[in-house]
């Protein structure tokens, strides 16, 4: 149960075995993805044909490595572009929301808070189609009324960014609010008391205090956007972000170049994850 309650050895051993098996289950898919990136075979499957780095650097058909696969590299660029804008927008709006919910009082605040949590309980596919339907209705309406064809309201990167922003903002709002809630308002009052203007107090006291949460929220937003599939699937146009491009390849059956790409993704997002953990942990001290 807990260490201070004596338990039979057998029971403890059984429990530890279960935990070990759980971690095998947790890590197995990731390990095989990584390992098969080095398999000298045209398919990411058994048998093992010997090691190769061709899936990273190769440029002879069919051994096209990830660094020479223009299509996939382009889609990485598209994803980074989308993720960048989603991060900027959602952290900015999330910060405003945090101040609104934590620092001000107005009628209907609770209702607004509930509504702003709702994107978390709306399945991503539905969020995607609702934005698709609505933006299409606006585009059609404008076209009929004044004859302009607003291309950005049709499926494409703009809608992908908007769609991801719609639910990522809920996450950033929660992360930043949680930090702001812990802020001792008397620190700001002390700054005012020492002669700071409201604006100066905000920039010199409050924002630095929020910094770990802002960075943490930014990392989470970037990763959520980069990895999003459901909402993106419904809103994507001709430029495919990475997840969509990979999905298409997977459906067709791909060479282990996908493993190589996945391995790189794991390394990058694992690194970002650790970074965000450390940023958040520092903020607790």
């Amino acid at each position: 149960m807990i260490p201070s309650i004596p338990q039979p050895k057998f029971y403890k051993g059984l429990y530890s075995t279960y935990i070990a098996l759980f971690f095998v289950y947790l890590s197995a898919p990731l390990i095989v993805v990584g390992v098969f990136a080095f398999n000298d075979s045209l398919f990411p499957s058994m048998p093992w044909e010997g090691g190769t780095l061709a899936w990273f650097f190769g440029n002879e058909d069919p051994y096209i490595g990830i660094f020479n696969d223009t299509k996939l590299l382009e889609s990485v660029g598209v994803s980074a572009f989308v993720a960048f804008w989603v991060t900027v927008l959602s952290v900015t709006v999330g910060t405003c929301n945090a101040f609104l919910f934590e620092r001000s009082k107005f009628p209907g605040k609770n209702l607004l808070y509930i509504v702003s949590l709702s994107p978390l309980v709306i399945p991503g596919v539905i969020l995607g189609i609702s934005i698709l339907v609505f933006s299409n209705a606006i585009a059609n309406g404008i076209e009929e009324a004044i004859g302009w064809d607003l291309e950005f309201l049709r499926p494409g990167l703009f809608l992908v960014i908007i769609g991801q922003f719609a639910f990522v903002t809920t996450i950033t709002t929660l992360v930043i609010s949680a930090r702001l809630r812990k802020f001792d308002v008397s620190l700001e009052e002390a700054a005012l008391n020492l002669g700071a203007t409201r604006r100066a107090a905000l920039w010199t006291i409050t924002i630095p205090f929020l910094k770990p949460a802002l960075i943490g929220a930014g990392i989470v937003a970037f990763l959520m956007s980069f990895e999003n599939f459901n909402t993106t699937l419904m809103l994507v146009g001709s430029d495919a972000p990475l997840t969509i491009a990979m999905f298409d390849r997977l459906k067709q059956g791909s060479t282990p170049v996908l493993n190589a790409l996945s391995l790189l993704l794991m390394v990058v997002s694992g690194g970002l994850a650790l970074l965000s953990v450390f940023v958040q942990r520092d903020s607790k001290n």
């Binding site: 993805v33 098969f36 101040f99 607004l112 702003s116 949590l117 399945p123 990895e227 999905f247």
Partner: protein, 293 residues
């Protein structure tokens, strides 16, 4: 945003508040509320000819008339509930181990190890399961090598494979709330339970689980919702016969370009998700803000 921190004279205060609330209102109205209202309206109309629509319930009637549709709907709901229960059963002992059995550094390390797989895209994780489960995959080869199977075994493209993938992909959302709620359980309550004569079973039933109820509820709600709305995992691990409701929505929207019917399906899925989330909250006496906040 600075004006809101304290009480200022009426006019400027209102203006400042409005400025601060603007992004929120734009976000919620343009991207959440109005799109869903529109989705509902579109689902309630019938296309007569190009650009001409009429109010109609035909899309919903079609849903109930066609067994494939509502079978898929019910199947998705049942499988999601099953996956949620399975995730809870597998994740609870692990969360308990991390929160209550481990101490000090090891605890944080184990918790991080639980989280790290989930920073990798769901696509990559599902890809991993495909490599493991397919006919030419790792497990099939292992079974043959170990003499447990005579020929290649196809473990992909069935419900069990879908379940394995769904549970895997949901685990994070179960473990995190459970660890945090179990972490908040004071050791002395468990000790008091034993001190008063309880054993592992009764202390777990009477003290640990009631205490963990909020975490169990929020974990289950989030997992259920994500599973219900999942597209990738059933599609890739279940193959053609996965019959997941999100696939029907995709087909209506993208393949058949029947947005009216697709909207109706979307709305039905949203209702299913909301009703079950609501029932879950009622049963566990939680509120939405507590659950996700």
């Amino acid at each position: 945003m600075n004006k809101s921190a304290s009480i200022t004279t009426g006019g400027t205060f209102r203006f400042g508040l409005l400025l601060l609330a603007m992004p929120l209102l734009l976000w919620l109205f343009l991207l959440v509320i109005l799109p869903h209202v529109d989705l509902f309206l579109v689902s309630m109309r019938e296309r007569i000819s190009y650009g001409k629509y009429e109010f109609s319930l035909i899309n919903y009637i079609e849903f109930f008339a066609e067994p494939l549709y509502w079978n898929t709907y019910v199947r998705t709901a049942v499988m999601s509930i099953f996956a949620t229960a399975l995730t809870l059963i597998i994740g609870f002992p692990v969360s308990y181990y991390i929160a209550k059995v481990m101490r000090g550094k090891g605890k944080n390390v184990l918790f991080l190890m639980c989280l790290i797989p989930f920073w990798v895209s769901e696509l990559v994780r599902t890809f991993g399961w495909m490599i493991l489960l397919r006919e030419s995959g790792v497990i099939s080869n292992f079974l043959q090598w170990a003499g447990l199977a005579d020929g290649p075994v196809e473990m992909l493209y069935n419900d069990a494979a879908i379940m394995v993938g769904l549970v895997y992909t949901s685990m994070l959302f179960m473990v995190v709330p459970l660890v945090s709620v179990l972490d908040s359980l004071d050791d002395s309550l468990i000790e008091a339970g034993y001190d008063l004569g309880g054993n592992t079973f009764t202390v777990t039933r009477d003290i640990v689980i009631p205490h963990a109820m909020p975490g169990i509820a929020s974990g289950c709600i989030v997992v259920f919702m994500l599973t219900l709305g999942n597209y990738l995992t059933p599609n890739l691990l279940g193959g053609k016969d996965s019959l997941w409701f999100t696939e029907q929505i995709y087909t209506q929207f993208i393949t058949r370009f029947n947005w009216e019917s697709g909207s109706a399906f979307g709305f039905l899925l949203l209702i299913l998700s909301s009703v079950i989330v609501w029932v879950g909250l009622k049963l566990s006496k939680q509120t939405l803000s507590e659950t996700v906040g």
